[in-house]
């Protein structure tokens, strides 16, 4: 949540609720709707770290609002974040660790673990396919996010098949 907020503030100063709306507008329904409380907490931490600063802006008919803007240190942190390569596919996989360790500890059968994991993946896939069908074709950001999730899931299932071939 930190970097997206910094990125939005790099464009222009804004208050918390405006940032929530901007996130929703940018990423569409495929993105989990940001929690306003989480946004305020994150902004406070960013301020403590010196990456943003804020001031109260008086409003005549409503309570004052706190408007945030990026500091030079914030801009530098954002630049560094954009410039560094992002993580590749995860190497440590929680399911894989279960798959390896649980049978050793006599806790589960590998085939059962793989079956229940496959069912879970297929359930998520069904959701994604339905979400894809409900997504406005003009919503490019949303469509690409869903397609990315679909491809990752397909890869997880293919890998599960490889585990099945090698471990059972």
């Amino acid at each position: 949540m930190r970097q997206p907020l910094l990125a939005l503030l790099a464009k222009e100063p804004a208050h918390g609720y405006e940032l929530k709306l901007a996130l929703e507008q940018t990423f569409g329904q495929a993105y989990p709707s940001p929690n306003i409380g989480q946004i305020y907490v994150t902004l406070k931490r960013l301020e403590q770290d010196g990456l943003v600063r804020s001031e109260d802006v008086e409003q005549t008919t409503r309570p004052n609002k706190r408007v945030y803007e990026l500091t030079p240190a914030g801009r530098e942190a954002l630049r560094a974040w954009v410039g560094e390569p992002s993580d590749g596919p995860r190497v440590r996989d929680e399911f894989f660790i279960k798959l390896i360790l649980a049978p050793m500890a006599g806790l589960a059968d590998r085939m059962e673990l793989m079956n229940s994991q496959r069912r879970h993946y297929l359930g998520i896939m069904r959701n994604l396919i339905e979400l894809q069908a409900d997504t406005d074709p003009a919503d490019t950001t949303g469509r690409l996010l869903i397609e990315g999730a679909v491809l990752h899931l397909q890869a997880d299932l293919d890998w599960l098949e490889r585990c099945q071939e090698e471990l059972v």
Binding site: R119, L122, R126, E130
Partner: protein
């Protein structure tokens, strides 16, 4: 025993959750007589030059009328062999196959051909259209072979091609069509005789993602219209639309379970697309 075959695809796709509830987790059942397709201890062994390969080793599966079941599993797990045996393209070595309450595993190849014409539609990964015939002729042929009049066959072909969005390609040779269009023609041909059962072997295996989406949509509509489907696939997008997924491993059923969508609020996209930080 008869069923009311869908006259075509419904114009508005229904969610598979709206399809009537059906019996749960595969296996044998006291109400087995309501099954469209059922196997018991099905075995397929290939023998060639002293080498024996047990491709299918004692499979019990069941498909209810109107049900869509996907078969997944690693390469070499016997998926395609199973589908071919169920469609009578290859004889079973032992065990039983029951289709529409009739035992069919002992039928001659000629009797199988008649059965397929009347009750089974096939879709393959590589379309298998007849290259020296037009799209229209490819789709009309099964109906003509089954004894329909040319007028009936033409009417059905026009309906299907219109529903599948390729009516304007009726006069074209299959080779002039894109892969996605060819697979739609293959689907039209498979559905031409209003088969009791549609068997599909990796129908999206050779398609890009936008053509896969089209075929997915068509299968979903056919299923919503009551079409029973048994499909072998690696593609989780397609499999996730099924009512049930059977996992085949080493020629045997390793898993047979309904697909239960995870509530979106609980997981869905939120978790899949979770932001870091």
């Amino acid at each position: 025993m008869s069923r009311s075959a869908p006259k075509g695809l419904p114009s508005s796709p229904a969610r598979s959750s709206e399809v009537p509830a059906r019996r749960g987790q595969g296996g044998s059942s006291p109400q087995a007589s309501t099954a469209l397709l059922r196997t018991s201890k099905l075995v397929k062994v290939y023998r060639a030059e002293g080498v024996t390969v047990e491709a299918v080793r004692g499979v019990d599966i069941e498909l209810a009328i109107g049900e869509f079941v996907a078969i997944m599993g690693p390469s070499g797990s016997g998926k395609s062999t199973l589908l071919h045996v169920l469609g009578g393209l290859e004889p079973a070595t032992s065990g039983e196959i029951w289709l529409r309450g009739q035992r069919v595993d002992r039928l001659s190849m000629a009797a199988w051909a008649v059965l397929r014409r009347q009750h089974i539609g096939f879709v393959f990964q590589f379309f298998n259209l007849l290259s020296n015939m037009t799209v229209a002729d490819n789709v009309e042929l099964p109906a003509l072979l089954a004894g329909a009049t040319p007028r009936q066959a033409r009417k059905r072909r026009e309906e299907l091609l219109t529903e599948l969005g390729i009516a304007d390609r009726a006069g074209a040779a299959p080779a002039r069509l894109s892969g996605g269009e060819q697979q739609r023609v293959a689907l039209a041909r498979a559905l031409a005789n209003e088969p009791s059962l549609l068997l599909a072997d990796e129908p999206t295996g050779n398609l890009d993602s936008s053509n896969t989406r089209d075929v997915l949509r068509l299968l979903r509509r056919a299923h919503a219209g009551g079409q029973s489907i048994l499909m072998v696939t690696h593609d989780a997008r397609v499999a996730s639309l099924a009512d049930r997924v059977i996992n085949l491993f080493d020629g045997m059923v390793a898993d047979d379970a309904k697909i239960v969508p995870i509530p979106r609020t609980m997981n869905g996209v939120g978790n899949v697309l979770e932001l870091r930080g």
